[in-house]
Symmetry: C2
Subunit: 130 residues, 2 copies
DNA sequence: TATTGACTTACACCTAACTCTAAGGTCTAA
DNA sequence: TTAGACCTTAGAGTTAGGTGTAAGTCAATA
């Protein structure tokens, strides 16, 4: 009945240490326990962990994720607050995508420039670059 | 005659602490000094710092940037190594862009879902969400 | 029944990337 | 000639986000 921490670690890609750390910090809501006091995750937890990973991997700070989770535990009154957090984060992501795309172009130019220098170098000496 | 650390901090957006730290760590090549031993940056340094910021802001670790800079100080023999590092990093960036885009879609769905719940909630009680 | 393996908590430790402090040198303007 | 703004180094402290250890519980199995 429910998943052990080991299973969830495998499914989520987070370590057991990290899962416990997240629960301790309030990044995860408190997880249910079985009769022996062992954590007993369900599909809803798994779903939430996947969202948390997405938020984290797109650069949201643990403290902000914690705030988001806290709102989700408070009930429907907090839906607008949750939505606001997501919308703000979405904006950050959009900005990052733009920045990354512009840098991808910049780096492509650099690579082409290096390639041209390499061809040059085949015919001459060995000097400093950049 | 060159730029002071203060000027470079303003132009680059890095703090003076960070600039010194970068030089200490070899993230920046050793910077020229004036007669009093004060750092004296030039336009080439500024150019390099801009590249370093791009690498860092797109997630390259300080240690890898350091390696890149070390190659650039060794001369044209290392051009292929420099190019390889950039190409690998470019791949990471491309993957990140894809991941970020897919998450941007996911979060948009979530936002829409929250909005629909909010409308529902206007007519009923206050329960847990997510 | 003794061992094995998975789990628990509390707490110490680690790494990356800064960030600050202390103690001091040099230049310029009043 | 002193005040203030700027710089220097060495080294300590901070923050975020984990990661690891020690000591103990519990259940299944040889």
């Amino acid at each position: 009945m429910g998943y052990s921490i080991k299973t969830i670690a495998q499914k989520s890609g987070l370590s057991q240490y990290t899962l416990r750390y997240y629960e301790r910090e309030g990044v995860l809501p408190v997880v249910a326990r079985d009769v022996n006091g062992n954590r007993c995750f369900n599909d809803e937890d798994l779903e939430l962990i996947s969202l948390i990973c997405c938020l984290k991997d797109t650069g949201m700070a643990i403290a902000d994720i914690k705030q988001f989770i806290a709102f989700s535990q408070e009930g429907r009154d907090r839906l607008p607050d949750q939505r606001k957090l997501l919308q703000e984060h979405k904006q950050h992501i959009d900005e990052k995508i733009k920045f990354f795309q512009s840098f991808a172009r910049k780096i492509d130019h650099k690579i082409a420039y290096f390639a041209s220098l390499e061809n040059e170098a085949k015919a001459s000496g060995n000097h400093k670059t950049t």
